[in-house]
């Protein structure tokens, strides 16, 4: 600005000191223009905080300051009256140049602001177009100083080009759409005032230059300065365009605002999951957004909760009124979304007319789906007849879908947390279950024993144990609790208690089962049972007494005949028969053993292990596998079996429990 003053002073001198070259003021003016251009470029163009109205306000404010300064000058002129000074050509020239400077400053401010507005939504071609336009303007600015450019045809060409560019660029009015109703009015006012300033300056500068031209021939006129005219025209053009576009956009601005609000509402619904809100708030948002989007007078939302109960959430309507409308529609046998079976969006306006005592005349209903299942109905009401149109249907239907998705996500999240908790519980149960299995097995004088148990991720209910009863008697048990998870682990611990207390009493295996059944019958819930086989190995008699209660048959290898057989008998699992007559369903068995005999106890996880084709491992393959290695130690036999099992299933993952206990009688 300081620089501009110097320029002005220099220019002032022209009338009085003819020895200064004629081109100097022009160059000075050009320098002034360029410096103002850069001044605003840095001040306005790079200020990110400005919004559209701020930009217009900038233009307006610059105009205001410029006008006030110009008016002050005029006041001074007026105060001086018809003194000599006021009619001095020199003084008038100063006035003129100050005005011109202010005008250029105002135009440049406007020019920079318009640039930001035009380039609001940039494209490659738009940026290029603008650059070309700026270049053309620069050319025009320079042309005033260089004689060669003054040729008629070139000037015409440049002006046509610049004019066309200005027109094309001025068509970029996208920013208008982003203004809300209030901002549009503000913008209109600001633009109108800017017009006024433009008009004022146009008039003032013209008046001055005419005045001076009358008095002096040497006066250098800037009226015909092409650049100024171009700049002025462009600023004017874009202002007019903006003004008209904003004016014509006023009636539709409410629609744009509504669309924007819809987008915001969408976001609210979809984000409600992340912000740890509950389902209720999703319903609340759905209700509110739908009502505000279609200007409904009332609404209700009927939702089937997680516990199959229907809940009614209302907006601007009492629950009893809502129920009355529902009953009315049901009474008239209206098939639509209101009956919970249909899932089509329906406009039920026509049916409301016949309901007396209600102010509503239109009703539109939407289903709300979660995972393809209908969980509720959203109904919107209006007091006007036929108050809903197709667009509204689409919007609300989109809202309802979004709400469904949010609720679904919400439930999934809840489920995931629940699952995490279950997993934690299962981990504990698994530790408990592991600790129930014995660390050390009772060794016998004439037999070796090895046991193995591996459970799937879920907690299984396999159990085995040994207990020395007397010097010559050892009790053995293998059991399988039906079901899985924590309850299975609990039943298993009950079984352990029963085994340890009953086995000590040196009961006959059949009595053991009868008492165990009695003890368990009220502990096991409906439909669950425990299969078990209890053995008493007696090394004095060299006999095995056993009783089988629904457990997998024992595989017995006779060393003398070199044959293996499954010991088949009858015996119902514990907990199957609650009454006293359980003794009819269980047997006492006895078998002699000889050195080298092998007894393989197992649970059904082993025989039911499946290969890739779904074929079960089965009893035959088990017998085959064990016969292969009967000469080995129980531990080695066990390892062989496990290896075989994993090769058979072809996976490291087991989906059931593998439990075996192998007893081998010594030579």
């Amino acid at each position: 600005m300081l620089f501009s003053d110097v320029t002005l002073l220099f220019s002032d001198l022209k009338g009085l000191t003819p020895d200064i070259p004629l081109w100097l003021p022009k160059v000075m003016l050009d320098l002034y223009v360029v410096s103002i251009f850069y001044y605003y470029k840095f001040k306005i163009e790079h200020d990110e905080s400005l919004n559209f109205t701020d930009l217009l306000w900038r233009v307006f404010a610059t105009g205001l300051v410029a006008t006030v300064l110009s008016l002050a000058l005029w006041m001074l002129d007026f105060l001086l009256g018809s003194t000599k000074l006021s009619s001095n050509i020199f003084f008038i020239d100063v006035e003129y140049l100050v005005n011109l400077g202010l005008l250029i400053s105002f135009l440049m401010a406007a020019f920079t602001c318009w640039k930001r507005l035009i380039l609001y939504q940039k494209s490659k071609w738009l940026i290029r177009g603008w650059a070309l336009f700026e270049f053309a303007l620069l050319l025009v600015l320079l042309s005033a100083n260089i004689q060669w450019f003054q040729q008629e045809w070139l000037l015409t060409l440049v002006s046509i080009l610049t004019g066309l560019l200005a027109l094309v660029l001025s068509a970029n009015m996208k920013w208008v759409a982003y203004l809300n109703f209030r901002q549009k009015w503000t913008s209109l006012l600001l633009l109108l005032l800017s017009f006024f300033y433009l008009g004022y300056f146009f008039y003032t500068t013209n008046r001055f230059s005419e005045e001076i031209a009358l008095q002096s021939d040497a006066f250098l006129e800037f009226r015909s300065h092409v650049f100024n005219i171009y700049l002025f025209s462009f600023v004017m053009l874009y202002s007019i365009f903006s003004f008209l576009v904003i004016l014509f956009n006023l009636p539709t601005s409410s629609v744009f605002e509504q669309k924007l609000e819809e987008v915001v509402n969408f976001q609210r619904i979809s984000q409600s999951v992340q912000t740890e809100q509950n389902e209720e708030s999703v319903y609340e948002i759905l209700l509110e957004s739908s009502v505000s989007s279609v200007f409904a007078d009332a609404a209700w939302l009927e939702i089937k909760g997680e516990h199959e109960q229907y809940r009614l959430q209302t907006h601007q309507i009492s629950e009893s009124d809502a129920k009355r409308i529902q009953e009315h529609l049901n009474g008239r046998n209206v098939k639509g979304v209101l009956d919970q079976s249909s899932d089509r969006t329906r406009n039920l306006s026509t049916h409301l007319a016949s309901l007396k005592g209600t102010r509503f005349r239109s009703l539109m209903a939407f289903p709300v789906h979660v995972k393809g299942e209908k969980i509720g109905t959203l109904a919107l009401l209006k007091e006007l007849p036929d108050g809903f149109n197709k667009e509204m249907t689409q919007i609300v239907s989109a809202f309802a879908n979004q709400a469904g998705i949010s609720i679904e996500n919400f439930r999934l999240l809840k489920e995931a947390i629940q699952n995490e908790r279950y997993k934690e519980e299962l981990k504990i149960a698994k530790t408990v279950q592991k600790s129930l299995l014995p660390n050390k097995l009772e060794a016998g004088q004439d037999f070796e024993i090895a046991a193995f148990s591996e459970s799937a991720d879920e907690v299984g209910g396999d159990y085995y144990d040994t207990l020395r009863i007397t010097d010559h008697q050892v009790g053995l048990i293998i059991a399988d609790v039906s079901g899985k998870g924590t309850t299975a682990a609990f039943h298993m611990s009950q079984m352990k208690g029963i085994f340890h207390s009953l086995a000590q009493q040196s009961l006959d295996p059949k009595d053991f089962m009868i008492r165990a059944n009695q003890a368990l019958r009220y502990c096991l819930e409906r439909g669950s049972f425990i299969s078990a086989t209890y053995f008493v190995l007696d090394n004095k008699e060299r006999k095995i007494h056993y009783s089988r209660a629904g457990h997998c048959p024992v595989l017995f290898y006779h060393a003398d005949t070199r044959t293996a057989e499954y010991l088949v008998d009858k015996g119902a699992a514990l907990g199957m028969v609650k009454g006293k007559d359980y003794c009819n369903y269980v047997e006492a068995r006895c078998i002699d053993y000889k050195p080298g005999d092998v007894m393989v106890l197992f649970t059904d996880g082993i025989t039911e292990a499946k290969d890739q084709k779904g074929e079960e491992f089965g009893l035959d393959l088990l017998r085959e596998t064990m016969t292969e290695v009967v000469s080995k130690t129980p531990k080695e036999m066990q390892e062989h079996l496990i290896r075989k099992l994993y090769t058979y299933t072809g996976t490291e993952e087991i989906d059931d429990d593998y439990t075996t206990m192998i007893v081998k009688f010594r030579q």
Binding site: S482, G483, G527, F529, G550, A573, K578, Y585, V586
Partner: protein, 116 residues
């Protein structure tokens, strides 16, 4: 997965069990039997000819009705089991507690005798 079809014949309710019964599908079996009992049928036939597999949970369902049937005088006969399936019933000792026949005809005959 399991599918249970119901149809009535000579005053008996026939439940045809198709597929596999594991822990999760055993609930459907339970519901189907409960429905039949709830509707007051005294004669129930279970067609197991299309039953491929039954887990302990499924067996538990049949087991859990034994006493209720006895108290209410309801007779249930199962028939058409595949060898693998009947083995599971036998190992567990359920075969002695339930009425199991090979053919539908035998099953009907037994049902008739039991009801008489």
């Amino acid at each position: 997965m399991v599918q249970i079809k119901r149809l009535q014949e000579d005053g008996a309710d026939i439940l045809a069990v198709v597929g596999e019964i594991d822990a999760s599908s055993s609930i459907e079996l339970d519901l189907a039997i409960a429905k039949s009992v709830g509707e007051g049928f005294k004669k129930i036939l279970v067609d197991c000819s299309a039953l491929e597999y039954i887990s302990s949970a499924g067996l538990g369902v049949f087991m859990s009705y034994i006493e209720e049937f006895r108290d209410k005088g309801i007779n249930m006969v199962m028939f058409g089991m595949k060898e693998k399936v009947i083995n599971t019933f036998q190992i567990l000792g359920l075969a002695d507690l339930l009425h199991i026949r090979e053919s539908k005809q035998d099953a009907k005959k037994l049902l008739h005798e039991l009801s008489a």
